[in-house]
Symmetry: C2
Subunit: 215 residues, 2 copies
């Protein structure tokens, strides 16, 4: 592990995962895009490196990516959340898993019922994998526009604050503010907030609504 | 009903209610502070009018205040929510009720379980009283500091957008931005956000955290 940890973004070929990958790679982190199929990961990675103008990001099958990384970030689609966790349980042991999942259904999302996706992940993975919830409320489109400064803040949940602190460092490393807001049960509100942001866009003529902390 | 409606703030002697009363009175609204006991309402009202330097706010017993108002705002403590609604059901008929309730317990709040307090209020009051959820995430302390511009935004839920629009006008009239974010089921997330804001203050060296919409 060099100064900056290696970050694997599992199920990372979607817009949220690739957006985060670009931000971290641009800021000097070693980034791996993971996918169920290695060739998908490689194809997406090659597009991202083209955007960056350098071969900064690697592509791997999810399990290999998880084993190679110092810290893992899960950005699978919500419907694949449980299956992905079961399949990757062994590969994830001993490292923090950042869970970005917000289980909302389009086009008319409702706040999901407790427990939070991150609490479900923690229960499923066991104490060998400290789960940290983050990125539920960051519009993927904003991440991918590398020339744009991000003005939205990232709320972070974890049962242990020291795990959240490690992830907060990574978030700041990607150019965003991070705020610890409590244990994984609080993450149900971050998921609900994703639904709120959908309606904020819909009803208020906003394109990519997100939140900033003031006070 | 003049141009600006008469607003009754029921259970309005606490810090949230009095803060809202000051903001509205200062901006030319006719404001009534309601309380279970008329003398309590009158005592608090007299303090508020002293701050304003004018006899702008009236004090009444909750039921009388509700009947006199064009629009009612409920700021009772969370534990009194259901009892207050049952007691005031008849007095509230035919007018919008703005419900500011967030059912969180100090000092270690958890996000409450659905249904939202505002949905419970709507079910209890019936369709003669359109319920609108708002103000869950506005720090009372910020409201009372009249020299301070409010930089926090108000998220508004209602089953009918036209009801939310009326309340959004009042919110803007008190100097804040208002955003409609969907039906009363979404308000569970506004309540959870109140818990999140408690931890934001606690863990991040912030005094009166609230949120602003960006994007």
């Amino acid at each position: 592990m060099t100064n900056k940890p290696t970050i694997a973004i599992l199920g990372g070929t979607g817009s949220e995962g690739t957006g985060l990958a670009l931000r971290w790679a641009k800021n000097g982190y070693d980034v791996i895009i993971g996918s169920r199929k290695e060739e998908k990961a490689l194809a997406v990675t090659s597009e991202l490196n083209e955007i960056l103008g350098e071969e900064l990001i690697r592509g791997m099958e999810n399990g290999a990516a998880a084993r190679e990384a110092d810290i893992n970030v899960l950005t699978v689609v919500a419907t694949a959340h449980e299956t992905a966790l079961i399949g990757l349980k062994d590969d994830l042991q001993g490292k923090i898993l950042v869970d970005a999942t917000a289980r909302i259904k389009f086009p008319n999302p409702k706040p999901p019922e407790p427990p939070s996706a991150a609490r479900l992940a923690q229960d499923l993975l066991g104490e060998g994998v400290p789960v940290v919830a983050a990125f539920q409320n960051i519009p993927a489109s904003a991440l991918k526009d590398l020339d744009k400064e991000l003005d939205s803040d990232v709320l972070v949940c974890a049962d242990k604050k020291e795990d959240a602190d490690q992830v907060a460092d990574l978030i700041r490393g990607a150019g965003m503010n991070a705020y610890y807001v409590g244990d994984l049960d609080l993450a149900i509100t971050l998921e609900g907030l994703t639904a709120v942001l959908v309606y904020l866009n819909k009803f208020n003529d906003i394109k990519h609504a997100s939140i900033k902390i003031v006070g």
